[in-house]
């Protein structure tokens, strides 16, 4: 792939761009993850190596002897893509100096789902960010361990029903709040952190490109609807992704050097948040929340979202 001066953000440029992921992979119908990956491909600027944690994306795109990937790609385990990427990037630099690797610079992207990123691989990400390797770590967040059958993760929303946070007669799904991973990674004071999602695709591509361009580590938290796990319509994933932004469940922002907080226009231009109920109504995994007994619980979720939204606006200097 030739070095590209700018990311492909217009439809015209996007269709000309080499695909990094071929069709024929075995992701579920309606899964947003392949869209997320294709958008990432629109942002690439030159030779790139992808390090993938175990997860839906990994298992469904590389079933031996087939692969959907057009990039050099490596998977080792569930929790270590950030560490694998550390080895890849440092090896290429040293080997180039010794005349054994052609490229002076290579972009290294580490990918993981929310289970791999929020939970089991959290330490590896934190370590890689702290050490300052020049990589982009992207989490595609579909809100649960979807690959193993929809178990709760640190990214699961309160009230969300999963196979390890059942909605029962006494418990309304997951009780705990979602781990603010992007904020935690931003607290590492790395050059660039962004949240993104596929409905605002220009914003996504522009952010991913920025993530590649900064020197040092960058982190992108991409929202990625999962019809199978969420019990949502397969044709609605991109609309649900947009709704997550509009309800404040996945606000879009950037953090530069852990200090400068910038709210992205899709979030900034919202006059007010849509009620989370609108989001909850679209998915079977939140259906139970509309039972009378969980009325208060649902209200508390809304209050929490409002509270977090106000805090974020304050950080971003938005009135």
């Amino acid at each position: 792939m030739a070095t590209d001066n700018k990311p492909a953000v217009s439809i015209k440029d996007m269709i000309k761009k080499d695909r990094i992921l071929n069709s024929g992979h075995r992701m579920c119908a309606g899964c947003a993850a392949p869209v997320v990956i294709k958008l990432m491909g629109m942002a690439l600027r030159g030779p790139t190596i992808v390090c993938n944690n175990t997860g839906c994306l990994e298992v469904a795109t590389t079933i031996y002897p087939y692969t959907a990937w057009n990039l050099p790609w490596i998977h080792v385990a569930f929790e270590n893509a950030a560490a694998v990427a550390s080895g890849v990037i440092e090896a290429t630099k040293v080997m180039h100096k010794k005349g054994r690797f052609d490229y002076e610079h290579i972009d290294v992207v580490a990918l993981g789902g929310d289970g791999a990123s929020f939970d089991i691989g959290f330490g590896a990400i934190s370590g890689a960010m702290e050490r300052g390797h020049d990589m982009v770590y992207m989490c595609y967040d579909n809100g649960a361990y979807q690959n193993t059958g929809i178990q709760r993760s640190g990214a699961t929303f309160p009230g969300q029903e999963t196979t390890t946070s059942w909605a029962g007669s006494v418990i309304p799904g997951k009780l705990e709040r979602k781990k603010p991973l992007a904020e935690i990674i931003a607290a590492h004071k790395i050059p660039y952190v962004a949240t993104a999602e596929p409905s605002n695709y220009r914003d996504f591509i522009t952010k991913f490109r920025k993530a590649l361009e900064v020197e040092g580590p960058a982190f992108v938290h991409a929202f990625s609807p999962c019809p199978r796990g969420w019990r949502s319509a397969t044709g609605e994933s991109i609309a649900l992704s947009k709704l997550a932004v509009e309800t404040g469940l996945h606000p879009l922002y950037e953090v530069i050097n852990g200090e400068e907080w910038i709210m992205s226009s899709a979030s900034k231009n919202l006059k007010e948040l849509k009620p989370v109920d609108e989001y909850f109504k679209t998915q079977g995994q939140f259906k139970h929340l509309f039972k009378p007994e969980w009325e208060d619980f649902r209200k508390r979720i809304q209050e929490q979202v409002n509270h977090d939204w106000e805090l974020l606006k304050k950080k971003c200097g938005v009135d």
């Binding site: 031996y64 050099p72 040293v94």
Partner: protein, 397 residues
């Protein structure tokens, strides 16, 4: 071509320091490690070399051993020459990735100061960490001295990176007993060592010009073939090791073999042990021989692949083998080393009696008297015509 004596550098080095020098001379591309006693000096010394510009490698001070081995796999996948070091709990934390490294055919050199596993937490030597990883697909070489640690580390790269092998290698030294013990070590001049080790030529690296998918999902239809190939690679190791060592011997005059035999030719009873216990066993054998007992020693260096045929041949017509080992396989018929030895000898005509003595766990000293005790017991078992499956020596019961 051998190296002239005036160019050999002689220093008093601990096992750890000797390994650090070998890693320095091997011209690594990446070293990724996490501190753990008693391995730490290896990485500390190497970091010092890096700080002084004596090595051209990236050192990645990772946040865990799991990430240490993971970063090694990533670097090795690009085609880099890679090493790491660990012990005990650190090695245990790597365990998942050890299997990946081997199955993905990454020729990583993994130096280990063998140490007991928790609990109770204990920093001293035994072989429970190495035995715990014995089925991971790593080649395992256990060393008796600082010199051997240095020599073996250099040879390990050539063995691991050989295209008939492409497997990771563990180089083990006994924690504290060798890792922290200063011994006389002869070092090759840097250029001779570098020339011996050569430059790694990767077979299928991650390369943007030729994008490949590494570490895919392989299910019922292909997984087994990956394992079949891995097994086939393991079968090549002894042959390649001998070639590498022959070359090393030409250069240095030193060789160890896949195991070392000592006075075994006419021996009735053979002590079989690994690592530093080999030295003690030889001293005891000498004393017993002075008393007219026909005792010999086999000090096993290569535990994986296990040199089954070679060992059976070396044991020959001995009447009994007393296996001394520093690991326990709880609930097993007997313990790791003895299990292998028994299997190796099952098909032989002479089928000697095998006594298995578990000794030295958690760094408990294994003095000459422990070997004498084992010897006396083995003699009794010979008279009786049978030995218990295993027993512990040197422990309060």
């Amino acid at each position: 071509m051998s190296v002239s004596k005036d160019k050999i550098k002689i220093e008093g080095l601990t096992g750890d320091a000797a390994i650090a020098h070998a890693l320095r001379q091997a011209d690594l591309d990446v070293l990724s490690a996490y501190p753990i006693t008693p391995q730490t000096i290896i990485v500390e010394d190497y970091q010092k070399f890096a700080a002084d510009g004596e090595v051209n490698a990236a050192v990645i001070p990772v946040e865990s051993e799991h990430s240490a081995m993971s970063a090694c796999v990533g670097a090795s996948a690009v085609g880099a020459r890679v090493a790491t070091a660990s012990a005990s709990a650190g090695l245990a934390l790597m365990w998942e990735i050890l299997y990946c490294a081997a199955s993905m055919r990454m020729p990583i050199v993994f130096t280990v100061a063998n140490r007991a596993l928790s609990a109770p937490i204990n920093i001293h030597n035994d072989h429970s960490d190495g035995m715990g990883m014995r089925d991971s697909g790593f080649i395992q070489l256990y060393c008796q001295s600082s010199q051997e640690a240095y020599d073996t580390t250099l040879m390990a790269f050539k063995l691991a990176e050989h295209h008939d092998v492409l497997l990771p290698v563990m180089v083990g030294i006994d924690g504290f007993i060798v890792s922290h013990n200063v011994e006389r070590v002869e070092m090759l001049p840097d250029d001779a060592a570098k020339k011996f080790v050569g430059v790694r030529t990767p077979v299928q690296p991650l390369d943007p010009k030729n994008p490949i998918t590494m570490g895919p999902l392989a299910l019922t239809d292909y997984y087994f073939e990956f394992k079949e190939q891995q097994d086939r690679a393991m079968q090549q190791v002894i042959k390649v090791y001998k070639e590498v060592e022959a070359e090393f011997e030409k250069l240095t005059g030193r060789k160890y073999g896949i195991f070392e035999t000592y006075k075994t030719n006419d021996a009735d009873i053979i002590f079989l042990a690994m690592s530093s216990m080999g030295g003690t066993a030889k001293v005891v054998a000498d004393v017993l021989r002075e008393k007219g007992e026909k005792v010999g020693v086999i000090r096993l260096k290569m535990f994986r692949p296990f040199p089954t045929k070679e060992l059976a041949k070396a044991i020959g017509n001995a009447k009994a083998v007393a296996v001394f080992e520093k690991a326990m396989s709880f609930g097993a018929a007997t313990n790791p080393l003895a299990l292998e030895v028994k299997t190796a000898l099952y098909g032989t005509k002479s089928r000697p009696i095998i006594a298995n003595f578990v000794v030295g766990l958690g760094g408990r000293d294994v003095p000459p008297m422990t070997f004498v005790e084992g010897f006396e017991k083995t003699k009794e078992y010979l008279k009786k015509g049978e030995a218990p499956l295993y027993e512990t020596l040197g422990v309060r019961k």
